[in-house]
Amino acid sequence: MPVARMNTMRPRLVVLCICLFFMAWTLTACTETSLFLNEVTPDRSFRIWWNEGYFPEETAAVRRFVEQWAKTSKNEVKLTFFSEKDLAREITNAIARNNPPDILYSYSADLNLIPRLAWEGKLADVSDVVSPVAQQFTKTALSGVTYTDNTSKKKAYFAVPISQSGIYLHYWRNLLQQTGVNERTIPQDWEGFWGWWRQVHRALSQRKGAAQSDNLYTIGLPVSPSASDTFYAFELFLEAYNVEILDSQGQLRISDPQVRNGILRAVTEYTKFYREKLVPPSATEWGDPDNNERFLNSEMVMTANPTLSIPGSQRSDEQRYFDQMVTIPWPRKPDGSPLRNLVATKQACLFANSPNQKIAKDFFRYLLQPENLDVFVKGSRGRFAPVMPKLLGDPFWRNPRDTHISNSVKTLENTRPLYQVLNPAYTEVQARNVWGSVLQQVALGKLTPEAATDRAIAEIQVIFENWQS
């Protein structure tokens, strides 16, 4: 080889060698990352995923109902029950794998899933099912299933309304009696109402000292990010303070200083109970069932809870249900006007890419027959109210002795839907439990109400901006 060529070859050779050594070193010293997934074949049979009932009879009612329909319609159906948390996870996974069921019903889907799916065009338009029977539904229920499909820019019914629930106030009459405060004196104005409970608290404190019972608290309002109840209850507080986060067109109004002031007042008032020790200290860590269980075990005099699940569970104990536990309407707003209850419309949806559209719609039509819906709703032991005013005529909902049902139905006469219905971006606000997070921080004294308000506002703005983009 000529010398001249040797000289030009040499640097390249050196570089090559260095590269090879480096490769060798990398391969022997470093780790690999590679994943192999097993194929999952999509299931094309008609599948219904349903939330397991809170009460066994609720699950049983659904099962019976579906079986009956399958029998009469001669359709094969795969009905699967999931606990609420499993269902949330399973449906996310199924959507991700593009293998969701045909029909989905979940207690929380209207809050955090369906508005988003409708927006993304993943749900089938069920107007042909709902419209023929639309006049039978309440307006709030209909607006609760009206969504905009962003892909086709179509506004239509993307779910069928099943039932509705608001947020209700319960207290133990027997515990109140022990404090000596007369329940007939409960004021109906906002300030007076909460002042009255403070009075109960003071009375309770005196009695506690005598009875040496440290486990009894007055108010069971959750202030934890884990509980969606926190979100719900605080939204009602915002309603009371006339805070309009979204206008009727679903546009965010949070930058309005008036809105900020309203939020600030609501935050301040809501967390005051905890800071005044009217609320159990563990309320900052509660999950959704915690206030139920503690209230049932008489650890709190009153609590607020979405759905009538608390009284519903005690239905078979007449004394507790009719005599000891009381459901009362909310007081008027601070400005004196009646407070609208926030209604969540429980709904079932049909996936757009379901291969069994016709069967699914057939199922929906069957379900929406008032008598079928009635059976189904009643199966929840009144935990949910019917969305058909006609069904409310049933004595079940009108029994004056049953304050829980009658008072709850009364609060459902003046309602508005949740913000998720107006703008699917709000599902993200709920999913992240923006209110719960900041309320917890304020309750624990880690944030001032002002800072908490600003943080929440900023977070919501970011969520909406991201949603837009």
Binding site: M6, N7, R10, L13, V14, L16, C17, L20, F21, M23, A24, L27, T28, T31, E32, T33, S34, L35, F36, L37, N38, V40, E52, G53, Y54, F55, P56, E57, T59, R63, L79, T80, F81, F82, S83, K85, D86, R89, E90, T92, N93, A94, A96, R97, S226, G287, P289, N292, E293, L296, N297, S313, Q314, R315, S316, D317, R320
Partner: protein, 992 residues
């Protein structure tokens, strides 16, 4: 780094060893890498299989466990004791029922003791109130059945419900609570069984063939976070808040698969993940990659280690081997260095007997040969050098070599002798300090030229000390550079003593002119008499010859023709002699040049006019192609006209029909004058020859020569003297184009002799003023009808006789004088009206005689005409001679001039020009003479008075400096009426 580079580039040893090391290293590396890759692939597949088996096993076991527990729970709920006890619990409390309830309680406790998996068993009313429990603290409390418990249906076709895992308040561990209705009634109470997952945990933690780092774990959702349900990670509080990894995330999404990823603890693992849908759990089996791939890595490491150690050992061997190669080479290289330094005796050591040994041997042989050659070469060089030295030293010519800086680097004794530097060593000195100024100037010029045009040889002639005339020939010494240019190193200058040549040359010129003159005199007679004969024949004899006799007629015709031939050949001979003289003079540098600003157009017009007869004669058409105006050029008008005439007459001469074009064009800084003919043309090889002396191109045998052959060489000399060049472009049968250039150099003005200051005088005005008094006095000596006397002075009797005949034919009275003395005698005897003088005469020559005549006031008024073989018109006019005619005599011209002079003599007035500035006097005289005045010059006041009184001039032109003398003259008798002009220093101051 530099050292490394140096080593890499310089050392063969390093190259050999380094290349071996790199190549072997690469080989070992490649083997190790490929082994590793292959090994890992194989291991990965095998580990996947193992993990898959482990996962399936665990999944099966876990599912099985849950199935059994479900069956246990349902079985317990269906126990008669339980059913009865529950009824008792709901019913009215009696001592019997109390006992039965206690029995139930103890039975349930027994079950929990039997079944380690069961923590507690409770009986709960449908409102959630705990009626009975193995954990007595719970009794009376309310629990949320739908929240934590997993309800089991007893129906055969019951939909499977996934177990609901939650964290136990008591143990802090994940547990599952199954609840199943007791009995078949409406709103039945429930049997709630809390199951601990210790069995599962144990099951899961068992390492089933997954090595040291292998683990399997279950992940579920607790408190909304993915958490350990079982597995070793469960114990670590760090993972209480949830765990994440790619495997976990995928499994929780319901995916099944396997892969290489980083696990929850940040350890790179190879893992398998599965989703147990019926349990809502992810089962994940993992093994650390380091362990899984350990065999492959170990193998690679071993290969690398083995390879590298082999390389190291081989490296030593290669090093030693390479040294054996390089050391003899180095020894040869060292020797080569010595040899290069000139030590040709050095020998390379022969260390081996192989190829390198052969190389060393060959090298030594080469060195020896080199030494031998070098010695021979040195001797030869020495010999040649001394030979050359001897040549240089003994050569007659002076030789010097001067470098570019001007230092003398060589010189020979002859040169030193030339410059009188016999005993000086001038080598190394600057030539400008050594040689005399003129020589330095010329040498500098030569070197400058050599530097500019190194390919050419230049010569210069100059005078050397000791009246030696030298001719220097310079050749540039140059070095050719690779880029094509040359580097000037100096000049070799050879100086030859050309004094002798010069002398010979002078002698040649003298000879030629003498011979020419000697030829001219007889020729004048021959031609003159021939013409006379011809004239007489034509005028007198032939008319009287009777035309009857044919023989007489033929004789008459032949005589006429012969005479004509004699005349024409005589004229040709005259021309030839004139041209030979011209050439001789030019070569001798003796020709006088009258450089002035002139218009080339005028030159062309004059030449065309002069040759118009030729055109007419041959029937050709002259074409004049000149621009309307051209810048003036410096030149000698008559000589340039001569050139133009020569070219035009040549063109006419060699052309039978058509036209001859004279063209003038301006090209940048030159004027190009071309004469274009349509004649026979000149062959290309003949073109350069036409400008050579006495050369006529073409076939001289067939073509009669038509000229002297000197016209073009003379033209060439003239043009070159003007700084131009002359050339011909021609094509046979088409025509020729002769062209010459004249430079338009303003600098040339400076080279011209300074014009006298008299030019500042407005000559027109002066002449106009002069005209008047002259005309007034024109009648004074008018002498009509008298026969004019001409005194012919010539030492040649034939010329005298010729002139007498000619003059007498014109009715002049002729007197003759054979020499100067005789002429002076004749003058004393009687004043002639005109004197013709020959110049070359014994004793007193023509000039001297003319000077004497003009100096004598008595005779100074007689017009003098010089007829000479010499061209001395200038000198003659300076002496006051009126006409100057050269021999051979053109009779017509001569007679015309005689007549003019005699007529003028009556009119001509004498003008006395006085100025102490000779040039002014000369210039003024020249102008006046050309206008026909007779001029007397005076250069001082005394001379002025003397000449004025002696000559009694008609007009006096004097400088204003001589105003006093002027006034004295006006008072002198006989000069009162003289017309005077005073010329001031101012441009014009004329007074009377």
């Amino acid at each position: 780094m530099n050292l490394f580079k140096f080593k890499l580039n310089q050392s063969l040893l390093f190259k050999l060893v380094g290349t071996f090391f790199l190549l072997s290293g690469v080989t070992v590396g490649v083997v190790a890498i490929s082994t590793n890759i292959r090994g890992r692939q194989a291991l990965r597949d095998s580990v996947f299989d193992r993990l898959s088996v482990a996962s399936s096993l665990k999944e099966y076991q876990v599912s099985q466990w849950f199935r059994q527990r479900r069956n246990d729970v349902i079985l317990i709920s269906e126990l008669r004791e339980v059913e009865t006890g529950t009824t008792q619990l709901l019913g009215r409390s009696t001592p019997q029922t109390q006992r039965q309830i206690r029995n139930l309680q103890s039975s349930l406790v027994e079950i929990t003791n039997l079944r380690a998996q069961i923590d507690h068993i409770s009986i709960v009313s449908n409102t959630g109130k705990v009626l009975l429990s193995t954990d007595t603290k719970r009794v009376g409390r309310y629990v949320l059945l739908g929240n934590t418990t997993t309800s089991l249906s007893k129906r055969a076709d019951a939909v499977q419900v996934t177990p609901n895992f939650y964290i136990s308040n008591q143990t802090g561990k994940p547990i599952v609570s199954y609840a199943t209705p007791i009995g078949r009634g409406e709103d039945p109470p429930f049997l709630a069984v809390d199951l601990n997952l210790d069995d599962i945990d144990r099951l899961i933690r068992e390492r089933t063939g997954l090595g040291q780092s292998g683990q399997t774990y279950l992940i579920g959702i607790l408190r909304r976070r993915s958490s350990f349900i079982s597995g070793s990670g469960q114990d670590d509080p760090a993972y209480r808040d949830g765990v994440r990894s790619e495997g976990i995330d995928l499994a929780l999404r319901g995916e099944e698969g396997s892969g290489l990823y980083t696990n929850y603890a940040g350890v790179p693992v190879i893992g398998r993940f599965d989703w147990i849908e019926s349990l809502g759990l992810a089962v994940i089996s993992e093994m650390s990659q380091s362990e899984a791939f350990e065999p492959a890595d170990r193998l690679s490491r071993e290969i690398l280690l083995l390879g590298l150690s082999s390389i190291s050992m081989l490296l030593v061997a290669v090093y030693l081997l390479s040294r054996r190669i390089t050391q003899p080479i180095l020894a040869i290289a060292d020797t080569a260095v010595f040899v290069a330094q000139g030590n040709l005796e050095h020998q390379a050591p022969i260390l081996t007997e192989d190829e390198i040994g052969a190389l060393a041997r060959a090298f030594n042989k080469m060195t020896a040969q080199l030494a031998d050659n070098s010695r021979t070469l040195e001797e030869r060089v020495q010999q040649r050098t001394s030979e050359l030295r001897a040549v240089i030293d003994t050569m007659v010519d002076g030789l010097t070599v001067i470098d570019a800086a001007g230092q003398i680097s060589q010189c020979n004794p002859s040169l030193r002798g030339m410059f009188n530097l016999h005993d000086q060593d001038i080598v190394g000195m600057d030539f400008r300090e050594v040689f005399p100024a003129e020589a330095v100037k010329r040498i500098q010029k030569l070197m400058q030229h050599g530097k500019e045009r190194c390919q050419e040889v230049f010569t210069e002639e100059f005078t050397l000390p000791n009246s030696i005339y030298g001719k220097a020939v310079a050749t540039a010494l140059v070095k050719n550079l690779p880029d094509g240019s040359v580097d000037y190193l100096g000049s070799v200058i050879l100086i030859r003593d050309i004094t002798a040549e010069k002398e010979v040359d002078r002698m040649k010129t003298d000879f030629i002119s003498t011979v020419s003159h000697e030829l001219r005199t007889p020729l004048t007679s021959v031609l003159g008499f021939a013409k006379l004969i011809q004239k007489k024949l034509d005028d007198t004899i032939f008319p009287h010859v009777t035309a009857d006799d044919k023989r007489v007629q033929r004789a008459v015709r032949q005589v006429g023709e012969n005479i004509e031939i004699i005349v024409s050949e005589g004229m040709r001979l005259t021309k030839l002699i004139n041209e030979v003289l011209d050439i001789a003079k030019m070569e001798a540098g003796k020709l006088e040049w009258h450089m002035e600003q002139l218009d080339v157009i005028e030159v062309i017009d004059r030449a065309l006019a002069a040759t118009s007869a030729l055109f007419l004669q041959k029937g050709l058409e002259p074409v004049r192609d000149v621009p309307d105006s051209l810048p003036p050029v410096m030149g000698d008008r008559d000589r340039l006209i001569q050139v133009a005439i020569n070219l035009i007459s040549n063109a006419v001469k060699f052309q039978a029909e058509g036209s001859v074009t004279c063209r003038v064009r301006q090209l940048d800084d030159v004027l190009v004058v071309s004469v274009v003919d349509q004649g026979i043309g000149i062959a290309p090889e003949d073109c350069p020859k036409v400008f050579e002396k006495f050369k006529q191109v073409g076939n001289t045998l067939t073509d009669k020569p038509k000229g002297t052959g000197l016209g073009l060489p003379i033209s060439k000399e003239i043009v070159e003297h003007h700084g131009g060049k002359i050339w011909v472009e021609s094509q046979i049968g088409v025509g020729s184009k002769f062209s010459f250039t004249l430079p338009l150099r303003p600098a040339q003005v400076a080279e011209l002799p300074q014009l006298p200051p008299i030019t500042s005088i407005n000559m027109e005005v002066l002449l106009r003023q002069l005209q008047q008094p002259i005309q007034e006095s024109a009648h004074r000596d008018r002498d009509f009808g008298r026969r004019k006397t001409v005194l012919v002075v010539d030492d040649d009797v034939n010329i005298r006789r010729l002139l007498r005949q000619e003059l007498e034919s014109q009715n002049y009275f002729v007197r003759e004088a054979g020499n100067g003395e005789e002429a002076l005698g004749q003058l004393l005897a009687a004043k002639p009206d005109l004197i013709t003088l020959d110049v070359l005469m014994p004793d007193i020559n023509g000039y001297e005689l003319a000077a004497r005549i003009k100096r004598d006031p008595a005779t100074m008024g007689i017009p003098i005409m010089i007829i000479s073989v010499l061209d001395g018109a200038e000198r003659g006019y300076h002496l006051g001679v009126d006409r100057y005619i050269t021999k051979p005599i053109n009779v017509d011209l001569f007679l015309a001039e005689v007549e003019t002079l005699l007529q003028e003599a009556g009119q001509l007035r004498q003008v006395l020009v006085v100025d102490d500035n000779l040039s002014t006097v000369s210039a003024l005289s020249e102008i006046l003479q050309s206008r026909g005045y007779r001029v007397i010059k005076a250069l001082s006041g005394d001379e002025f008075l003397e000449k004025a009184i002696a000559t009694k001039p008609d007009v006096i032109i004097a400088s204003s400096k001589f105003t006093q003398q002027q006034m004295d003259i006006h008072r002198t008798k006989g000069l009162e009426k003289v017309v005077s002009f005073l010329i001031g220093d101012e441009p014009m101051a004329v007074g009377s």
